[in-house]
């Protein structure tokens, strides 16, 4: 009996790992989603976790947990719901059929083209983790796009040159790409600590620098129009350094889906651990919440700004690694993906929580993939999806509006109470 909670923990972890792998590796197989039931394993894992909480801490704790989670999810879910309604009204007004369009959006994003959703989500999760991590230190790493490009270039460069077996070279490239993102953020971190130059300005300017470095890099690595038959693209990297495909171990998986998404989930878990279970994370959060109090307790503000921005650079650069070694296997010029910029939205939507980022990243990826499918099959402009995304973000970020309304209401009630008590006192006096 004593071992039951422990067994449940193991069962829950197993269920979620298998469920996650199957679900994310899922793809269409003759129009039917393969391994889609992986999702139900995930749901089962959540159920197992709740049973465990019930057994260990009792009923009250479980109810409390559910209530707390519900409260946390309420604002994002309300935002998504309201945005869908607003988008629907917009479609009605402009003469499209919202039911058909949304049907296509959901079918395309979650079933038919689920593999595209997953492929979209992986780089977004990395850049969003980067933004979220810096956010915890009170910093706004708006230039994740630049670190993403640096990571992509570094990954390509090393991939084209390494001749070691994949087991060795892939981790090497992973670290190498990350370090270039770190390198790219040293300058903003130094300027922030030394001169107070705002990281929004410096990282954004460096983002553009990195972007315009990429054509030069591509010319130097096989993309030269004078010699190459395929200009504006680097040479293809050797197959030994490609990230493993889901197809390698799940025969019915889509042939394009690579394991970068699993890497993203693992990195999200690691970031969660760093932030909430290490002293480094504790210091970063303390600096982010109140740097004066942190300083008074001997926590160096400058050191933690450095840590936060450098780790953020590492994370954003991994998005580049993911795209080069996982999906494209080469670096394209004029890659207008904007994963760096979109990562900001994804991080904001998740409220800066590393685990939340996984879900909001998947949501964003699904909306993009489903939106494409929708516009192709129902001739509804995909701009509708952009509007829905913008509205979601607005409604979620605007949760401060809800707080402000709540505060105003409370203050008014307080003022009324004071006024009436003064009036009462005056009457007594008279």
């Amino acid at each position: 009996m004593k071992n039951v909670p422990r067994l449940l923990t193991i069962l829950g972890v197993l269920l979620s790992v298998i469920g996650l792998v199957l679900w994310l590796g899922a793809a269409v197989d003759k129009g039917q989603p393969a391994y889609f039931w992986g999702l139900w394993l995930l749901v089962a894992a959540v159920g197992v976790h709740m049973v465990r909480v019930y057994l260990v801490s009792g009923r009250r704790e479980l109810v409390d947990l559910i209530r707390r989670s519900a409260r946390k999810m309420m604002v994002p879910l309300l935002g998504v719901g309201a945005a869908i309604v607003i988008g629907g009204i917009l479609m009605l007004v402009t003469g499209y059929d919202p039911v058909r369009a949304y049907g296509a959006l959901i079918y395309g994003g979650l079933v038919r083209n689920w593999h595209i959703s997953v492929l979209n989500a992986a780089p977004l999760i990395f850049t969003a983790l980067s933004v979220a991590f810096a956010f915890k230190a009170g910093l706004f790493n708006i230039g994740a796009e630049g670190q993403y490009y640096m990571g992509a270039m570094a990954a390509t460069w090393l991939s084209l040159r390494l001749t070691l077996p994949g087991v060795v070279s892939i981790p090497l490239i992973f670290v190498f790409a990350g370090l270039f993102g770190v390198l790219w953020n040293i300058v903003p971190a130094y300027l922030k600590v030394r001169t107070g130059a705002h990281e929004v300005i410096t990282t954004m300017m460096l983002a553009h620098t990195a972007r315009y470095l990429s054509p030069i890099f591509i010319r130097a690595n096989g993309g030269d129009p004078a010699f190459s038959t395929h200009p504006y693209v680097t040479d293809t990297i050797p197959e030994t350094v490609w990230l493993p495909m889901f197809k390698d171990f799940l025969p019915r998986a889509n042939y394009r889906v690579h394991t970068g998404i699993l890497l993203a989930v693992v990195v999200a878990l690691v970031i969660y651990y760093i932030l909430y279970h290490t002293t480094i994370g504790f210091e970063i959060r303390a600096v982010g919440e109140n740097k004066d109090a942190a300083r008074a307790q001997g926590i160096s503000v400058g050191k933690n700004i450095f840590r936060a921005l450098l780790i953020a650079g590492f994370l954003a650069a991994l998005a580049g690694f993911n795209q080069v070694n996982g999906l494209d296997h080469r670096l394209f010029e004029n890659l207008q993906a904007g994963y760096g910029w979109n990562g900001i939205s994804v991080a904001l939507l998740a409220g800066g929580h590393p685990i939340g980022v996984v879900f909001t990243g998947l949501l964003w990826g699904t909306l993009d993939a489903g939106g494409q499918y929708m516009s192709r099959t129902t001739q509804t402009p995909s701009a509708i999806v952009e509007i829905v995304k913008g509205t979601i973000l607005f409604l979620v970020v605007a949760r401060y509006i809800y707080t402000a309304i709540g505060n105003w209401y409370r203050r008014r009630k307080q003022k009324k109470m004071i006024d009436s008590s003064i009036a009462a006192a005056e009457q007594v006096g008279a």
């Binding site: 002293t279 504790f282 109140n290 109090a293 008074a296």
Partner: protein
């Protein structure tokens, strides 16, 4: 007798928990310089904000030239000829003098601003009142004294007949104070009536014609300045009655000082040396109280001791070693504890839990962390916090409660629990009971005395004289960054301390 231009009748201002003004009656004559004297929290600023339309009085009325008026905003007050120069200037640093002066009252038609006229008007105004200033200079390039001049011009530009100056000399150098006084006298001679809010006795004597003394929201006295001495003013301001709340036995303290400071100079954010040649010693088992009016270098001293502000010159020794170049972390690890005056800004990370707030600073050692300080040990942290919540009687739902949701007294107890249990050899306590209710004050005082009884050297900075008298074994009076007087509490009274606090000089017999 000159005409009365401004009068308040039975002004009462009630804040949710404080009665800031209680039946205030004052009058202001035309062409007179009036001082409002009082300690911090005596209600001076509240009264002025009521006059200026920033607050609505709870009861009472304001009469301007004999007619009752009601200001719903500063705009109304300005229209009726009132001008106010705040302690913290309200200027746009990147704009020029002229632009700042005309801001909100721009000459010209419609959306166009007639800069030429504006510049000429500002120039004329400054010539007429002898307030020399370059109308085209940017505010950020001006000294504090000149910025104040711009504030005065701003009021005059709006045709102020009554000028209110809130602590006008607080940020000025002695020379600038002299210049300001010349300007003020010039304005009086041109018929402007002036109210100066201050807590400095010298100023009252130097500039004013008449003075009202405020204490605890009430007018305690009204005097012609010529007829009153500084000592008399001090005694009215501080109050004769000395209340000792804690029975305290004087102790004999021996032994080498645990902590000492010699000729310390520390600059404030503006670059002015606000701690200026300060020396002190604290021995084990004594509470040394630093008395002084706010803004005489208290916060800079505390920050310098904790390594939060660079030391310009001088030395600080802890257990015989010079610590003036150590980092804050190194000082904390030498068992120096600090209870900051501003607990929300420096004391607590409000969104963190109680347990995290108790751990912070020692978060990289047992019981708060494991694996050589790399990883947090939430179980150990929570257990430690639970024990301290019990020991210090912190009223909270538990270690995982958010610190921001606690009451002020319980927040302070969290800080005490953190700092007092780190086995300090030297304890720096700054305004430990600010804003707390009586019960919490009593508890915190008893805890400080308990630390003293454990032979801890305690340095306490406080603005409350009562607190100093009930806890300190030795009192150092701080004035303009220096210790101007050292006394034992049994050999003095609040009146004498108040006299030295406000810049009174030693009487030569």
């Amino acid at each position: 007798m000159a005409q009365t231009v401004l009068e308040t009748r039975h002004i009462v201002k009630q804040f949710p928990k404080v009665l800031a003004n209680d039946d205030i009656n004052i009058t202001l004559q035309e062409g007179e310089i009036l001082c409002l004297l009082g300690e911090n929290g005596a209600g001076k600023s509240t009264l002025m904000n009521v006059l200026y339309g920033l607050y609505q009085p709870t009861a009472g009325e304001i009469l301007l030239d004999g007619k009752s008026v009601a200001f719903s905003s500063p705009r109304d007050a300005i229209d009726k000829g009132l001008g106010m120069v705040h302690q913290h200037f309200m200027l746009v640093e990147t704009l020029t003098v002229t632009e700042n002066i005309i801001l909100g009252a721009e000459p010209g038609k419609g959306p166009q601003i007639d800069y030429k006229t504006a510049r000429r008007q500002v120039q004329e105004l400054s010539d007429r009142h002898g307030l020399r200033i370059d109308p085209d200079e940017k505010i950020m390039n001006l000294s504090v004294g000149l910025q104040q001049r711009v504030e005065i011009l701003k009021a005059l530009y709006r045709h102020a007949k009554i000028l209110i100056l809130d602590e006008p000399t607080a940020v000025l150098t002695p020379q600038e104070v002299e210049e300001l006084f010349t300007v003020i006298r010039g304005l009086r001679d041109k018929g402007v009536s002036i109210i100066i809010i201050t807590h400095k006795l010298d100023e009252v004597k130097a500039i004013s014609d008449r003075v009202y003394i405020l204490r605890r929201g009430r007018v305690e006295g009204e005097q012609r300045t010529a007829d009153v001495t500084k000592e008399e003013l001090a005694s009215i301001m501080v109050g004769r009655d000395v209340v000792l709340t804690v029975e305290r036995t004087s102790r004999k303290v021996s032994g080498e000082p645990v902590f000492s400071i010699e000729d310390l100079v520390v600059r404030d954010d503006r670059g002015v040396p606000s701690v200026n040649g300060l020396s002190l010693e604290v021995r084990p088992g004594e509470v040394v109280g630093i008395a002084g009016v706010d803004g005489n270098g208290q916060s800079e001293l505390a920050e310098a001791i904790m390594g939060l502000r660079p030391v310009e010159s001088g030395s600080m020794r802890h257990l015989g070693e010079d610590i003036s170049h150590l980092s804050t972390r190194e000082r904390i690890h030498r068992n120096i504890s600090y209870v900051p005056a501003d607990r929300h800004r420096f004391g607590l990370v409000l969104p963190f839990t109680v347990a995290e707030n108790i751990a912070i600073g020692y978060h990289d050692r047992a019981p708060n962390s494991k694996f050589r300080g790399w990883s947090l040990d939430y179980a150990g942290m929570t257990k430690h916090a639970e024990a301290l919540i019990g020991d210090f009687d912190i009223r909270t739902s538990g270690p995982s409660a958010t610190a921001g949701n606690l009451s002020g007294g319980n927040q302070q107890k969290v800080i005490l629990a953190r700092e007092f249990t780190r086995d300090p050899s030297f304890l720096l306590v700054s305004q430990p009971t600010r804003g707390l209710d009586v019960g919490a004050i009593e508890y915190i005082h008893s805890q400080i005395l308990a630390m003293r009884d454990k032979e801890v050297a305690v340095l306490m900075i406080s603005l409350e004289l009562e607190e100093i008298f009930s806890l300190a074994d030795r009192i150092l009076v701080l004035f303009e960054g220096k210790v101007v007087k050292e006394v034992r509490p049994e050999a003095t009274d609040e009146r004498e301390i108040g006299f030295y606090m406000t810049g009174g000089k030693e009487r030569t017999a």
